[in-house]
Point group: C2
Chain length 508, copies 2
């Protein structure tokens, strides 16, 4: 057997192992999807047992020493010659995962898992009772465990890098700090100008009678038109909307409905459909392997934000959809003109709650969390002082003040579930989305007439060719450069926001 | 450590292993439930991969040699002293399962699994095309593999015993033959008398406008009233209705709706709710262990049949529910009197299709299959001659003749999926149901006034005490004797059918 054919045999063994693990991971995703959408209320405790036993099997497979042997054997072969090939990508990404999985001692894995369950339970109660003090010791333990995790994983820059790396591989705190600072520097003055403007578009038309069954039908219709394939997916109801993938032909999106408010469900559906379209566009023959998986959470979020905001809040999009919306929601929109509606869905207003924030202020919510969790991990902020630090940043960046902890420092589940380092991916998503959209316009010409004609195919095909088909073959920042011809920058997002908000608020 | 405390340690290890396997089995049940209810159409092939990998893990755990060691160690200890105790039941039932699982060679397990998938695919096409010939070689292979399975498992009576044992532990072909023959001997003349009667109740009122959303609401309401707990269960739509259990607090029932016909969904829901109520009534603290699991498929079916037929088709039941039904389905039932409706849901008419058969003729459909599959396994009938044998028995027992194979020998999925030995449990269910209902009346007094008042609690509590709480602590036939004071007999079912049908058809 030649060296190459030996390498191919080893590579095949590795892939078979990983693809089978992916089957178990997607089974776990079904358990979680079911729990969050339709599971009977009393079934929770047993569901946790089911997830635990499956997770143990998955962890055993991911840390199987044979993976280390296979990867070592492959690292010096011809298969690695072309760095963006499927083979080289598989070896590179699996090596990173294997190192991370095996470097964290099993006792620490279990401690984090247990603390994350306790933390979430405590958070639910703490938020309900507006009680940070009871939550504080749990969060202290979580921060401590995550610092241990960072130390175990290792890092070259700062400890926070090791945590971000779980969600946004290869991104560094230094890079993120630079791009977020540049964004903040231009965004804060823009928001100040908006706040000082005497033009305040009304959002009244978004509040009214929006029957839930009509919302569902209209939302599904729009999701289908932009390209979500319901023969390979579903839309269901949940409390905290998400998108999940249960297999190469099974991506499920979720939403929640408010019968008196249009935006929650509709833009939520566009957002999750954006995630789903990305998942449905990944190379299905590589499902479970890095070339068939999403690049990073930041890139994933860019796809949801692109369809939700860049497309879904554009005037052109509503030129196509508004006549249908008006017909579907006659009671609420019958007397509302297109321009009034488009203004309403684009208003900007600094607010307390991240998940309800508009397209512009959302980024500041993220930057605040990014700065705070860095400080917690680097030890320059103790958990006890977190509420005060939170409030100070909200005053400084957004000019708002929470009357309580529930809508302040306790509003998000992430930290309670040990997901520290996740938040930056949300703002990255906005930045990537604007940069990709700009690149798509450079390649395809003015997209607005296409959107106004309901032609979403060209944009989707371009995204498929430039982003979806590559899976993890390019690291996220490299992919952004590859797609747009320049490194990630705050400029496209600021240009997009200025282009829309300055006329809306009569600025400059 | 004394012998007993050693035994307790071993018993605990055994139980932990088995309970964890049950978690994986219930995960597989979720994969299957999802596939049969709501999964996106394109997701089928990957779902099969997910089920395969999980099944391999489950099979590995069930044949783990440690189980054999633990069982051997326990077999001679004090834990076995009381034969109906949880401990003795666990050891007894697990020994039977372990023997069965380990006696069948892995290659045969895989061959049956593969052939069952191919068989089902071929059956779908064969039924659609009314083509037995193409299906014949697949069924021949299945019969051959099942004969190999019976030989591997071993038996004292006949080979068919070893197959029945998988679904109805401890039942023998001799016992079944005796009770089915006695039933047939009395049932065939009763049906002949009915056919000769000039009184033919009309079923017209069951056909009309029955809006699906109203059917769903009414069905859920009735299921709740008889005792199905929706905080620990769900009702969904499927093609071939079933009940499945995903955990101690998660039993899901399914149905299908026909907007022009009342009975399919309503009696289907009562039937599946009966299964679900049994599952919900098993001792949840023993979930996954034999004392916490259903006794046999025959006992399971007795619970669905009891609520569907003994309760759900009784005049008393409809005294309570008919006013509500009439209000819910005004268009169809507004002008129909209670007695006419009750007659309609109790008509008897020999027909071709088992799943659409009435309460009385259903048993003959089963007896035909029971006789045919025995003959196939014992080698007195070859697959090639099966259609002719099928038609002959339908003529003889039911007086009907199928114009094609699709509605004849090809109508059921069971044989194509290698489920040979399953059918008898359906007729056993009817026999047990009548015997249990008679015993309940002996214990609780006349049940009819309670049913007419919508009081289902006393009957359910009695079933819980006599049947549900025992799990597998008594073998099915022994349980029947224990509950009713006499061995299983055809008499209660015949008494029930005569008591209802003789007046309805003006007989004797």
């Amino acid at each position: 057997m030649s060296q190459t054919s030996e390498a191919i045999t080893t590579y095949t063994q590795l892939c078979e192992h990983v693809v089978e693990t992916a089957r178990l991971v997607t089974i776990r995703a079904l358990l979680e999807w079911d729990e969050r959408t339709i599971m009977p209320t009393a079934a929770g405790p047993y569901r946790a047992e089911q997830i635990t036993v499956l997770s143990r099997i998955i962890h055993g497979r991911r840390t199987d020493p044979r993976i280390g042997d296979w990867l070592q054997e492959l690292s010096a072969t011809d298969l690695m010659a072309s760095s963006h090939s499927a083979e080289a990508t598989t070896v590179r990404c699996l090596q990173r995962d294997f190192d991370r999985q095996t470097r964290i001692p099993p006792a620490l894995v279990e401690a984090i898992s247990r603390q994350s369950i306790l933390g979430q339970q405590a958070w639910v109660a703490a938020r309900k009772n507006d009680d940070f003090q009871t939550f504080q010791p749990l969060l202290e333990q979580i921060v401590d465990l995550k610092r241990q995790e960072a130390a175990a994983v290792g890092y070259t820059g700062c400890a926070y890098d090791a945590l971000v790396d779980e969600y946004e591989p290869d991104a560094t705190t230094t890079q993120l700090t630079a791009v977020f600072a540049a964004l903040r520097e231009e965004l804060v003055p823009l928001l100040m100008a908006i706040r000082s403007s005497d033009r305040v578009p009304t959002t009244d038309c978004l509040h009214g009678e929006f029957p839930i069954d009509v919302q569902e039908k209209f939302g599904k219709h729009a999701a289908t038109e932009i390209g979500f394939d319901f023969s390979r997916g579903r839309l269901d109801v949940t409390h905290h909307p998400f998108c999940t993938t249960l297999g190469p032909c099974d991506s499920r999106i979720t939403t929640r409905y408010d019968s008196q408010f249009f935006s929650t469900a509709f833009f939520g559906i566009l957002h999750e459909a954006g995630h789903g379209i990305y998942e449905q566009g990944l190379p299905s023959e590589q499902f479970g392997l890095p070339p068939g998986m999403y690049c990073s959470l930041g890139i994933h979020e860019s796809q949801s934000r692109l369809w939700e905001n860049l497309v879904g809040r554009s005037h052109a999009f509503w030129q196509h959809f508004y006549p249908q919306a008006r017909e579907a929601f006659g009671a609420a929109l019958g007397a509302v003109e297109l321009d009034e509606f488009v203004s309403a869905v684009n208003t900007v207003r600094p607010s307390l709650i991240r998940v309800e924030a508009d397209e512009a202020t959302y980024n500041l919510h993220i930057i605040i969390r990014f700065e705070l969790e860095q400080a917690l991990i680097n030890g320059t902020l103790v958990v006890e002082d977190l509420p005060a630090a939170w409030n100070e940043k909200y005053r400084e960046y957004l000019g708002v003040e929470s009357p309580n902890h529930a809508d302040g420092v306790l509003q998000d589940i992430h930290w309670s579930s040990a997901a520290i380092g996740y938040f930056p991916t949300y703002a990255l998503g906005n930045l990537y989305a604007a940069q990709f959209f700009q690149a798509a316009e450079a390649a395809l010409g003015d997209l607005q007439p296409m959107l106004a004609a309901g032609e979403f195919g060209p944009l989707r095909a371009w995204l498929g060719e430039k982003i979806y088909q590559h899976g993890q073959c390019y690291p996220a920042m490299e992919l952004a450069t590859e797609v747009s011809g320049k490194p990630l920058s705050h400029e496209p997002l600021m240009a997009h926001l200025r282009g829309k908000l300055e006329p809306l608020y009569g600025l400059a």
